[in-house]
Symmetry: C2
Subunit: 402 residues, 2 copies
C-alpha cells in the first residue's frame, strides 16, 4: 500500500483524490500496489467531506512521515509550492504536479534535485491537461531527434477564437460570454495575453532541448488584437487563426514564440476548436504526431497527475529520467525567424505596400470588409518585416502565417 | 552495448536499421546503452549494403547467440514469424514487432509466453504506424477505465475517401490512382474490405478488455459500396464519411465493429484526411484523447519498433506488463447495438420509408443527386434496422451514423 499526500484541495487536488477513489482498482493494478491518500494539505477544513480526516494544515506532518512516498502538488503558484516541492524531493519523496507556473520557472532545477536524491519529479498535468504528451516525448519519442513542437496550448483563447470565427462576434463580447460561462477568468490576462501558453511552450521547449528555456525569454503575443475582420480575410485565404506556442530547431538556431498564426485548413491544428488543445511533435524519423484533447478541466488534469503517481510507484526507488537540466538554453533572436505575414492596411496604400514588400505580395480583398485591403508578404525575416511595417502609413493589423 | 537482430530486411526492417543508425546517440541515451544490429535475417543477400555482413539466412544463429537481447520481427505474415517469435521468447529473448496480422491472431498468447519467460513482447508499430498510442494506453492511461476506442486505422481507405469527397471522383477511379501512386496495393482487398482496420481494432480492443478479441469475430464492412452520391448527401448533413474501427463497453455489452460511418464535422475524427490515421481513446476520468499521425510509412513505423527496443532495454530483465491474456473475449452481438442510419432509396418510396421507420425519420434531398432521396432513421438497433431495410423495395445504400 503506497501512501500519497495531496497539497491543495482545490479543483485539481480534489480531482486527484476523486480519481484515486473512483479508479482505485485500475490504479492499484497499474501501480503494482494500492494507493491511499494519507494527507490533504489545505488552509481550510472540509467538514463533511469524505476525506475530512486526512486534511492537515502543517506541511511538516507530511514531510516528516516516512510512509508518504509521493506528493501531488496541486496548489499552483510559485510559493509556498516551490519550497514544499524542494523540501519533499530533498527528503527523498517523489513529487508530481500540475503547477505549470512553477515547472516553467524551476522545473529543471527540481528535476536535478530529484535526480540527486534518487526520486522522481514529474509534471504531465502542467501541459495539455489530461493529454499524455510529456510522457510520450520523454518516453516513446525519446529516441527521435525532435526538431519542432507546435501547440494550441490554451483552451480559453481557443474557445474565444473559435466563437469569433464561427459566430462573427467581436473579441470583447466573446470574452464577456466566456467569463459568464466560467471558461475565462475574471482577470483573463494570463490567457488572452498568451502568458499561460508561454509557460507551457517553455516547458515543452525545455524538454525538447534538454536545457532550461526561460519563459521570460520567449516572445509572446496574445489574441487581443484579433478582430472579426481578420476572420473574414481568413475565410478567403482558407486558413484558421489560432494562438500557437512553437519551438523549432534548425540550422539557423532554436526559436520559440507564442503568437496568433494563420494556419492552412489542411493542417490538423486548424481544425482544433473550442476549449480543446492539441500538440504536434515533429521527429526526424517519425514525422508529425499530434496529441489532442481537453487541455483543462478537473478530471482530465487530475487523471494526468494520477498517471504520474502510477509511473513513480512503478519505478519506486528509481529516478525517472526527464530530459531537462538547469543550464540556460540559448534562444535565437526572433528577428532571424523567416516566415510570411498577413497585413491589413487602408485601401489607398497598395502602391506603398508593393514598394516596401515587393511586387510578389498577394493582395486580398474581402467583400465583408470595406475601406481597406490586406496582403500576404513573401518570406521575410521578422526583423525586416518589422522595419518595413513601420514605414507603412496605416497598418490595421498583422498576423503571422504558419 | 545491447545487440539486436532484425528479422526481415524489407521496408520496415531496413527502416529499423536506419533509425538505429541515424539516431544512434538518441537511442543510446534513452535505452541507457548503445544498440548494435548484430544480425539481419533475410532470404536474400544484400551485396553493397552497409549492413551486408550482418545478413544471415538461418534463424538458429540468432536464437543460439546469447548476446542477442532483442529481436525485431518485421517480416509480416503468420508463418514463419509466429514460430520465430515464440522460439525467441521461450529462449529468453524479448521481441518487438510491426506484424499486425500476427499480433491480432496470437498477440495475447505471445504476451503470456513472454511473461512466463521474464521477457517482453511489444508491438507499438502494429497499430497507427509511428503514433505512440499502444504505449499510452498501456502506460499513461492504464489507471483509466477505458470505455471506448475509435479509430481511423487504415491510411489507404482514408486517402480514397478523402479524394472521393474533395474531388468528386468515384471509388474505382480513385482506387486506380492510389494504386498508381503506390498508396494502395495491387491487391487492395485487405485495405478496402476493412480487413486491415479489423486487425488493428482487434489489437486495440484486446488491450482495452485485457482479453483476446478474435478479429474473426468482428463485424467488418469495407468502403467498396461508398459512392460519390453519398458524399453529396454528406455535405448537406455536414458530416464526413470515414472508415472507423470502434470498440465500446457499456451496460449493454462490449461491441466492436469496422464500417464506414458518417461523423459530424465538429468531431476531430471528421477532419482526419488523406493517409493519416487517428485514434480516439475515451477514459472515464480523462474524457477523450486523440492521437494523430501517419499510420504507415517506412520511417514512422520503424521509429515505433525502435521505441519498443528502447523500452525493452530500459526494463532489461523485467517483463513489461501488457494488458492482454489469451482468454477469449466475449463480444456482444452487433444486433443489439443502437444507432442512427443514413439510407438512400428511390424517390417514390417516401411513404414506405415512413411506414417502416416511423414519422421521425429525417428526409434529405440533394440538388446533386436525382431520382432518389435519403433519410436518417431515429435510434434503432442493428437488428431492427436490418429487418426493416429488407422490406424497403429499393435500397441504394446505407451508412451508419457516429
Amino acid at each position: 500500500m503506497a501512501k500519497v499526500a495531496v497539497l491543495g484541495y482545490g479543483t485539481v487536488g480534489s480531482g486527484v483524490v476523486e480519481v484515486l477513489d473512483t479508479n482505485a482498482a485500475e490504479v492499484a493494478k497499474s501501480a503494482g500496489e494500492a494507493v491511499e491518500v494519507k494527507y490533504i494539505l489545505d488552509l481550510r477544513d472540509f467538514p463533511g467531506d469524505k476525506h475530512e480526516n486526512q486534511v492537515v494544515h502543517d506541511f511538516d506532518i507530511i514531510l516528516n512521515d516516512p510512509e508518504v512516498d509521493v506528493i501531488c502538488e496541486t496548489m499552483g503558484g510559485l510559493e509556498p509550492a516551490f519550497t514544499f516541492e524542494k523540501k519533499a524531493l530533498e527528503s527523498g519523496k517523489s513529487v508530481c504536479t500540475s503547477n505549470k507556473e512553477l515547472v516553467a520557472a524551476h522545473g529543471p532545477e527540481l528535476v536535478e534535485i530529484a535526480k540527486k536524491n534518487g526520486v522522481s519529479y514529474l509534471f504531465e498535468a502542467s501541459v495539455g491537461g489530461g493529454i499524455p504528451v510529456l510522457r510520450s516525448i520523454n518516453d516513446s519519442l525519446k529516441h527521435e531527434k525532435i526538431d519542432a513542437i507546435t501547440g494550441i496550448l490554451n483552451g480559453t483563447t481557443n474557445y474565444i477564437l473559435t466563437k469569433m470565427d464561427k459566430e462573427g462576434i467581436g473579441f470583447a463580447t466573446v470574452l464577456k460570454q466566456a467569463q459568464d460561462k466560467g471558461y475565462a477568468e475574471r482577470n483573463p490576462e494570463a490567457d488572452i495575453e498568451g502568458y499561460d501558453a508561454c509557460r507551457k511552450i517553455a516547458i515543452l521547449s525545455s524538454l525538447m532541448s534538454g536545457e532550461h528555456v526561460n519563459y521570460e525569454d520567449i516572445y509572446t503575443e496574445g489574441i487581443t488584437k484579433i478582430s472579426i475582420e481578420d476572420f473574414a480575410y481568413a475565410k478567403s485565404l482558407n486558413v484558421a487563426i489560432k494562438l500557437l506556442g512553437m519551438c523549432k530547431k534548425n540550422e539557423s538556431g532554436f526559436f520559440t514564440i507564442v503568437a496568433p498564426f494563420m494556419i492552412p485548413m489542411e493542417n490538423p491544428l486548424a481544425n482544433v476548436n473550442g476549449v480543446f488543445n492539441a500538440i504536434d511533435v515533429h521527429g526526424n524519423m517519425l514525422g508529425d504526431v499530434m496529441f489532442y484533447g481537453k487541455g483543462a478541466g478537473k478530471s482530465a488534469t487530475a487523471s494526468a497527475v494520477v498517471a504520474d503517481v502510477v509511473d513513480i510507484l512503478k519505478h519506486k526507488g528509481k529516478h525517472i529520467e526527464v530530459n531537462m537540466n538547469s543550464k540556460k538554453a540559448v534562444l535565437t533572436s526572433k528577428d532571424n525567424a523567416v516566415r510570411k505575414f498577413f497585413v491589413r492596411v487602408t485601401e489607398n496604400l497598395e502602391d506603398q505596400a508593393k514598394e516596401l514588400f515587393g511586387n510578389k505580395i498577394e493582395i486580398i480583398k474581402s467583400e465583408e470588409v470595406k475601406g481597406e485591403f490586406a496582403f500576404v508578404t513573401d518570406l521575410i525575416s521578422e526583423k525586416d518585416f518589422e522595419e518595413k511595417l513601420w514605414k507603412l502609413d496605416s497598418v490595421k493589423g498583422y498576423i503571422r502565417l504558419y
